[in-house]
C-alpha cells in the first residue's frame, strides 16, 4: 500500500485504502463484498446497474465510482440497502426475458447468482416480457441474445478499451435503449473475434460463444460451487 494511506469505515469495520481507489476496490481488498453487475476488474467504472449502491456519510452513491476519502462512513449491508439492491435485481429480471432453465449461462450467470445470494425465488414486479428483443446469430463463433442483455456496458468498454475495436455501443434511450454493433446490420459485419475480451465479459447469457455450449455441465459451474462474492470474502483477515 502506498504512503497515502486512508482509513475509513464500512459497516463499523475499519478499512485502509490508497488515494484514488474506489470504495468498491478498497472493500474488495478488505474482504468485504459489495454486490455488483456492471463493475468488472480491468474496465473503467461505469455506475449503471446501481446494485453496488452504498450510503456514504448519509448519501447514496455507487461504490464502483466513488473514490475513498479519509474518515468516510460507508453503510453496505443494511436492511435498507439490501432491499434497494433486491429491487434492482428484480427490475433487471422483469425487464428482459431471463429463462434460466434453458440458458447456457446458468450457473455462470452473475445475475442469477446474485438472485440466489439475495434469496430471490421470483421477482416481486410483474414481468414485462418484451417482444422486441432479437437474437443475432450471424457470426460463426459468437451470438448475441438481446433478451438477456442487462445493458451493463461491459462489452462496450471491453471492446473499446481492451480490444481497441468499438464493436459495441448503445442506441436509443430510456426503456428503448439497446446494444448495437458497429455495422449497418449484424455482428458478422463487424471485426469482432471470438478471442476478444468483449466476448468474455458479459455477466449474463447475452453474448455467448458458439461450439462450446454445455462443455462444463450444469452443476459443475462457477456459482454451483460457491455463492457470488465468496472469492472476495475469502480475502477477509
Amino acid at each position: 500500500m502506498s504512503e497515502h494511506t486512508i482509513t475509513f469505515e464500512i459497516d463499523g469495520v475499519e478499512v485502509r485504502a490508497s488515494h484514488g481507489q474506489t470504495v468498491m476496490v478498497a472493500a474488495d481488498v478488505a474482504g468485504i463484498y459489495i454486490p455488483r453487475l456492471c463493475a468488472f476488474d480491468g474496465l473503467p467504472p461505469y455506475g449503471s446497474c446501481r446494485v453496488c449502491t452504498v450510503k456514504i456519510n448519509g448519501r447514496f452513491q455507487s461504490a464502483c465510482t466513488q473514490p475513498v476519502a479519509e474518515g468516510i462512513i460507508v453503510e453496505n449491508e443494511t436492511e435498507e440497502l439490501l432491499e434497494f439492491r433486491r429491487n434492482i435485481i428484480d427490475m433487471l429480471f422483469v425487464e428482459g426475458n431471463h429463462f434460466c432453465m434453458f440458458c447456457e449461462k446458468s450457473g455462470n450467470c452473475e445475475l442469477q447468482a446474485l438472485a440466489y445470494r439475495f434469496g430471490i425465488a421470483a421477482p416481486k414486479y410483474p414481468y414485462m416480457f418484451p417482444a422486441d428483443r432479437n437474437v443475432d446469430a450471424s457470426h460463426k463463433d459468437i451470438f448475441i441474445d438481446h433478451n438477456r442483455c442487462i445493458l451493463c456496458a461491459r462489452c462496450v468498454r471491453a471492446s473499446r478499451d481492451l480490444d481497441g475495436k468499438n464493436v459495441f455501443q448503445f442506441v436509443g434511450r430510456g426503456p428503448g435503449k439497446r446494444i448495437a454493433v458497429n455495422a449497418q446490420a449484424k455482428l458478422v459485419d463487424t471485426n469482432i473475434d471470438v478471442s476478444d475480451k468483449a466476448v468474455e465479459v458479459c455477466p449474463v447469457g447475452a453474448i455467448l460463444k458458439k461450439h462450446v455450449g454445455f462443455t462444463i455441465p450444469i452443476g459443475q459451474r462457477k456459482y454451483d460451487h460457491e455463492p457470488i462474492g465468496a472469492d472476495i470474502e475469502a480475502n477477509k483477515q
Binding site: P45, Y46, G47, S48, C49, R50, V51, T53, F60, S62, T65, Q66, P67, E83, F84, N87, I88, M91, L92, V94, E95, Y125, P126, M128, I150, L151, N166, V167, F168, Q169, F170, V171, G172, R173, G174, P175, G176, K177, A180, V181, N182, A183, Q184
Partner: protein, 604 residues
C-alpha cells in the same frame, strides 16, 4: 451510396473541421438538409470525422429531433404538454391529422409533411402550441391548423406562413415569431431597464476574486432548480487546474411548465451575455457556450446577432473592453430534443458530441467538465443575476427576497389562471399571494417546479416560494377543481419514461413499473397494498438512480400520494380476490389468438 450524399456529408463535416465533438451540429445539419440520417450517411460521417459508425448511430438514435427514417420536408411537432392537453391539444391534433390524412408519427404520401408530438416546448402560457420546423405557432384553433396545412401545401415555407407577430423582440425581423412574452410583472433584477456594458465595466475594474466574493456576499444560488451557491461553484472552477476553462450557460429549459428563460433570451440577451463574460473573467475562462434547447432554435439568428453586436462593442473577443489579456468569446450549441440535457453533466456530454448521458461524479464539472476542462455550468437567470449584482452591488441584491433566498425569481405560471405568463417576484411570496397575483384563486392544486417538483393543495398555499420551502426552477402549473389530478400524474410519469436516458436500471425500469401500477389503480384494479408498493418502489428509484432525473422522477406519484391520498384511496378496493391488477382476459389474449376461439374456462 450516392455521390451526392457523400458530397453533402463531406461539406457539412468539413464545416465543423471534421471535429467529432461537434457531432450534434453535424447530425443536426444533415437532418435539416436531407430529412434523415440514413445508414449510409452514418457510415460516411464516421469515416469523415474518424470515429466508429455505431458511435454516430448512438447519437442519432438518442435525440428526438434526429431520425434514421426519412421524414417529410416539413415536420409539424404538436406540443403534447399537460397544459396543452387542458387547452385543446386533442382538437388540434385531430385537425392536423384529418387535414393531412395521416396519424401522428406518419408522413404524407407526397413526402411533404411529417406529423409528430413532442413534450413541452416552453409555450404553456399560450397553449396549444406547435413547432413547424423551427417556427412556433401558439394559441392555435382547429381552423388555424387547417389553414396552416393549406398554406404549406400551396408551397409557402413555414417561416413565411401567415401569423400575428408577438410583442417585444418577438417581432424583431430576426425572431419574427408568433410568440408572446406575457411578462406580467417586471421585477428589479432581471426585467429592470438595462444599460449595456455597465456591469462588465465594473467587473473588469475588480479582481476576479472580488467578483466571486461579490457573488458570494449577494448569496446568489442557482436559478435552475438545484439551488447550488453560485459563488462556491465559481470558486471550485477557478481553483481547478487547467489552461482552458469554460462557462456554459444552460439554456436547455425543458422542465414542463417552464418558459421563463425563453423570455429572458428574447428580451434580455445582452444581460445574459454580460453575465457570462463576467463569469468567464471570475473563473479564468476564455470560452463560453450557450446550450440552447432545440425547441428555441427560432431564437438562434437573433442571439447570434446579439453576440455579434457584443463583439463589435468589444464585450467579446480579445482584450474584452480593453482589458489587456482577457479574451472571451461565446458560441451557441444547439440541443436536439432531450430533456435530460438540462442535467449539467448530460449537457456537457451533448456539447461534446455524445449521447446526452449524465457523467459519473466525481469528478465534478468544476474540476473536469467540457472536454475534460474545468467548467462552470450556470442557468440563464443565474447569469443575469450576476450581471445585476456587479452593477448594483451585492448589498442591494441581498436585501431583496428572504434571508436564505436572496433576489428575485422568475415564475412561469400556466394552467387554470386568468393571467398566465412570466412574473418576476422577490423570494418569500406565499403560494396564496402568487395565485391571487396570477388570477388563480380557487385552484385545486399547483405543481411547483415542474413534474420533478411537488404537487400541493389548498391546505398548503401558505407555503413560501424560497429555497428552504417551495424550491422551484420557476414552473408553476395551476389546476382548477375540474381537473383530474391522477391524469396529470400519469402524464408526468409518461414524460419521465420518454425522457430517461436509460443509463441506470432504477430510472429505466422503475419508472415503467411505477406507471404500470398507477394505471392499474386508475382503472380500478388496485388494492390498498398497491399504495405501499408505489411508495416503496418510488423510494428505491429515488435513492438508487444515478442523476437528478431518476432521483426526482417518482415525485409525481410520491407527492400526490402524500398530499392527495384520498384520490388514490377512492380508487383502490379492499379484499379483492387474488391479485386485482392481474387481468385474466389480457393474459389469455395471445393464446386466444392462436387457438382462434375464446377460453372454455374463463368466460369473457
Amino acid at each position: 451510396m450516392s455521390d451526392n450524399l457523400e458530397t453533402v456529408v463531406k461539406t457539412i463535416c468539413t464545416g465543423f473541421e471534421n471535429d467529432k465533438t461537434r457531432m450534434i451540429d453535424i447530425v443536426r445539419e444533415l437532418q435539416e438538409c436531407l430529412g434523415h440520417v440514413s445508414d449510409d450517411a452514418m457510415d460516411l460521417i464516421a469515416e469523415q470525422v474518424g470515429t466508429h459508425r455505431v458511435e454516430v448511430e448512438s447519437v442519432v438514435s438518442f435525440y428526438a429531433f434526429f431520425s434514421k427514417e426519412q421524414k417529410g420536408k416539413i415536420t409539424i411537432r404538436l406540443c403534447d404538454d399537460i397544459i396543452d392537453r387542458m387547452f385543446g391539444f386533442e382538437r388540434i391534433k385531430q385537425a392536423f391529422s384529418d387535414t393531412l390524412g395521416i396519424s401522428v408519427g406518419e408522413t404524407t404520401p407526397d413526402g411533404l409533411i411529417t406529423l409528430e408530438v413532442t413534450p413541452c416546448i416552453g409555450m404553456c402560457d399560450q397553449a396549444p402550441a406547435v413547432m413547424i420546423n423551427d417556427e412556433i405557432f401558439t394559441e392555435l384553433s382547429g381552423d388555424a391548423a387547417v389553414e396552416i396545412v393549406e398554406q404549406l401545401r400551396a408551397g409557402i415555407p413555414p417561416e413565411r406562413l401567415r401569423r400575428r407577430l408577438g410583442d417585444g423582440n418577438n417581432s424583431n425581423p430576426l425572431v419574427s415569431a408568433a410568440v408572446s412574452n406575457n411578462i406580467r410583472k417586471f421585477g428589479e433584477v432581471i426585467f429592470a431597464p438595462l444599460e449595456c456594458g455597465n456591469a462588465l465595466r465594473k467587473a473588469l475594474s475588480m479582481s476576479p476574486n472580488e467578483v466571486v466574493r461579490a457573488v458570494k456576499t449577494a448569496r446568489l444560488r442557482g436559478r435552475g432548480g438545484a439551488g447550488f451557491p453560485t459563488g462556491m461553484k465559481w470558486d471550485f472552477t477557478r481553483a481547478a487546474e487547467g489552461e482552458r476553462k469554460f462557462v456554459i450557460c444552460n439554456a436547455d429549459e425543458g422542465e414542463p411548465g417552464t418558459f421563463k428563460d425563453r423570455v429572458i433570451l428574447t428580451e434580455r440577451p445582452e444581460l445574459l451575455i454580460e453575465g457570462m463574460v463576467i463569469a468567464g473573467y471570475a473563473i479564468g475562462a476564455q470560452e463560453g457556450v450557450i446550450y440552447l434547447r432545440g425547441e428555441y432554435a427560432y431564437l438562434r439568428p437573433f442571439l447570434e446577432d446579439t453576440l455579434q453586436k457584443a463583439r463589435n462593442m468589444g464585450m467579446l473577443g480579445n482584450d474584452v473592453m480593453g482589458h489587456n489579456g482577457f479574451n472571451f468569446d461565446i458560441r451557441i450549441q444547439m440541443g436536439a430534443g432531450a430533456y435530460i440535457c438540462g442535467e449539467e453533466t448530460a449537457l456537457i456530454s451533448s456539447c461534446e458530441g455524445l449521447r446526452g448521458d449524465p457523467k459519473n461524479r466525481p469528478p465534478f464539472p468544476a474540476q473536469k467538465g467540457y472536454l475534460d476542462c474545468p467548467t462552470s455550468v450556470n442557468n440563464v437567470e443565474t447569469l443575469c443575476c450576476v450581471a445585476r449584482i456587479i452593477d448594483q452591488g451585492a448589498g442591494w441584491f441581498s436585501q431583496i427576497g428572504s434571508k436564505g433566498s436572496t433576489g428575485t425569481k422568475l415564475l412561469s405560471i400556466g394552467g387554470d389562471i386568468r393571467r398566465p405568463g412570466v412574473y418576476e417576484v422577490p423570494f418569500g411570496m406565499t403560494m396564496h399571494d402568487v395565485l391571487e397575483m396570477a388570477g388563480g384563486t380557487g385552484a385545486a392544486a399547483v405543481q411547483v417546479g415542474g413534474p420533478s417538483g411537488e404537487l400541493i393543495g389548498p391546505d398548503m398555499y401558505d407555503r413560501i416560494i424560497c429555497y428552504d420551502d417551495l424550491a422551484t426552477g420557476g414552473a408553476l402549473m395551476v389546476f382548477g377543481p375540474e381537473r383530474n389530478l391522477l391524469e396529470v400524474v400519469e402524464y408526468f410519469m409518461d414524460f419521465f419514461i420518454e425522457e430517461s436516458c436509460g443509463y441506470c436500471t432504477p430510472c429505466r425500469v422503475g419508472n415503467v413499473l411505477l406507471k404500470q401500477r398507477l394505471v392499474d389503480i386508475i382503472h380500478g384494479q388496485g388494492e390498498p397494498s398497491d399504495l405501499t408498493y408505489l411508495e416503496e418502489l418510488g423510494a428505491s428509484v429515488k435513492a438508487t438512480s444515478r442523476c437528478g432525473l431518476g432521483q426526482t422522477s417518482p415525485n409525481p406519484i410520491l407527492s400526490s400520494l402524500k398530499n392527495f391520498r384520498p384520490l388514490y384511496q377512492a380508487l383502490v378496493k379492499e379484499g379483492q380476490q387474488f391479485q386485482p391488477t392481474f387481468n385474466i382476459q389480457n393474459a389469455l389474449s395471445t393464446a386466444k389468438d392462436i387457438a382462434g376461439r375464446p377460453s372454455m374456462h374463463f368466460a369473457e
